[in-house]
């Protein structure tokens, strides 16, 4: 493809095919909802894969996108810890498998959350919150963004240390990394609070600068995610589809084609990737 053209009109297409932050919020909420209803690997693995392809097609540039990797690590860590906890109870094939599946569910949740972090800017979501909920939304946005901001500051501190020739080991250098990162986090929070205060946040005034447009892609993403989550909720309420497979005896869990399709449908945003084609 003609890469120059795609480079120059990149920004335009990005805005045209950009998925609205609220659509991402709905997508993440629905995918998370689907994940918590099930421990069936036949649903969780496609969900994992869907989150991954959505991340790789839609991730924004910048530190927020890198947080996906951290959440993926968290997911692996959650699975490992959850499985390790079995050692405290009776150990058999079934209990290990059960722990593994519950870990997988946690991991899927974390991956979905990581994807949301990497594709949508929490502050853009914040901008859309109704005025009366602004303060609680602000707290939520700060909580949401703490991971990407911490990761960014870790990277900055690492780089600064490298440039000064301080080459420290991965683990032994943890204290010398943690202190500046915490200090930076504190400073950043203060700066953010001051700048928001200066811009009149929390006083009822709102900016209309660069409004986000609701595109057809956003409608599609929202609708598909909503339908897919509805299938999982219906299965959970109706008790069909083998959402919580038996691990004792350890058998192949059943898989409902409708739910498998729903889990795969969470990959739908990949079809409207910005900056891809044409």
């Amino acid at each position: 493809m003609n890469s120059e053209l795609s480079a120059t009109s990149h920004a335009y297409r990005d805005s045209a095919r950009m998925v609205h932050p609220v659509a991402w919020l709905v997508w993440a909420g629905c995918a998370g909802l689907a994940a918590v209803t099930t421990t069936n690997p036949f649903y969780l693995l496609p969900l994992f894969a869907s989150a991954w392809i959505v991340h790789s097609t839609h991730r924004t540039s910048g530190p927020a996108a890198r947080s996906f990797r951290i959440f993926l690590l968290f997911a692996v860590w959650a699975i490992t810890i959850r499985t390790g906890l079995v050692l405290l109870g009776p150990i058999n094939q079934g209990s290990v498998a059960n722990a593994l599946l519950e870990g997988l569910r946690l991991g899927a949740l974390l991956t979905v959350f990581g994807t949301f972090n990497s594709v949508a800017d929490p502050f853009r979501v914040l901008k859309l919150a109704p005025r009366r909920w602004h303060e609680s939304a602000l707290a939520a946005a700060l909580a949401l963004s703490i991971a990407p901001r911490t990761i960014a500051s870790v990277e900055r501190v690492r780089e600064a240390q490298r440039m000064r020739g301080i080459d420290i080991g991965r683990w032994s250098g943890l204290p010398s990394l943690a202190v500046p990162v915490l200090a930076t986090g504190m400073d950043e929070a203060m700066t953010l609070a001051e700048s928001m205060d200066a811009r009149g946040h929390g006083r009822g005034t709102r900016t209309r600068y660069r409004p986000d447009r609701w595109s057809p892609a956003a409608t599609a993403v929202t609708a598909i995610a909503g339908l897919a989550a509805a299938a999982f909720v219906a299965a959970a309420i109706g008790g069909w589809g083998g959402l919580e497979p038996s691990t004792f005896p350890l058998v192949w869990p059943e898989a409902s084609p409708a739910l498998v399709a729903s889990a795969l449908a969470f990959a739908a945003p990949a079809l409207v990737a910005p900056g891809r084609r044409r």
């Binding site: 036949f42 994992f48 790789s56 069909w240 005896p249 192949w252 498998v260 399709a261 079809l271």
Partner: protein
Amino acid sequence: MRIRSLVLSLAVAAVSLWPVAVAPAACASEAQSAVLVVDTGETVLNFCVTLPVDSVSGIELVKLASKQHGLSYKLGFGGAAVCHLAGVGPTGSDCFEQDPDFWGYWRGDGSGGWTWGSTGAGSTSVTDGSVEGWAWGSGTGPETHPAPPATRFADVCVPADPGGKKEGGGSDKEPAAPQESESKPAPAPGSGSSSNRDDAPKKERSRDKGNKLPAKKRTPQSVETPAPAATPSPVPTSSSTELAGSELASDSDGGPPAAGVAALAGTLVLIGGGALVARRRRTQ
């Protein structure tokens, strides 16, 4: 286009994997069964439950009893606890909604008595000849929670006849069994807390008739042989309740269901597509 073709190939993969038939399961070689006693405080229901595999969990046994004998149940806390049995107990997912009453889990000690289930019913092992009991009531331990009436395996499950076809024999023996159990309550150590112990088996018998349970209390062979035969149906995934039964029956040696294979194929395709896109973006 690339993404679209990926999704297209995913769809093709899913469709082509669809007819992968689940390997026909071998029939359960010999009948294995366990006894499930449900004591609602007013009624005592006894079930002889056929086990499709060597060992199931206490929770699975309840599900099997539901499948084979129509016992109504509702699990809570993510399927790990029993909330509701035989019309008694909370129907939501909070099993302690009617606190202090809850379903206590008892395990037969092999001689008619009961020991308090100290681990969750989802992680216990129920094998051929096991006796499991659920009793509705208050009390958080074996001293205070009511125990089901003393029940031995042979009281409920008629020993399998080598002839195997004696359905009438099963129901003939059935009324005889409680007489046996009436002589048992004295030796049972853990069951002295309630005065209605001795008359419970009679009650149970009369209720059983009302619930048309004796018709289903057949010898294990006669109960279970039809179920595995239903398994090799090429589209088992369409009906989930049917599937649950056949899965359980078949899975001692069965493979994953077709939709599961499709799910794994879809997962691989999406991961591959994601990796491809990620690499393209990095090189751009």
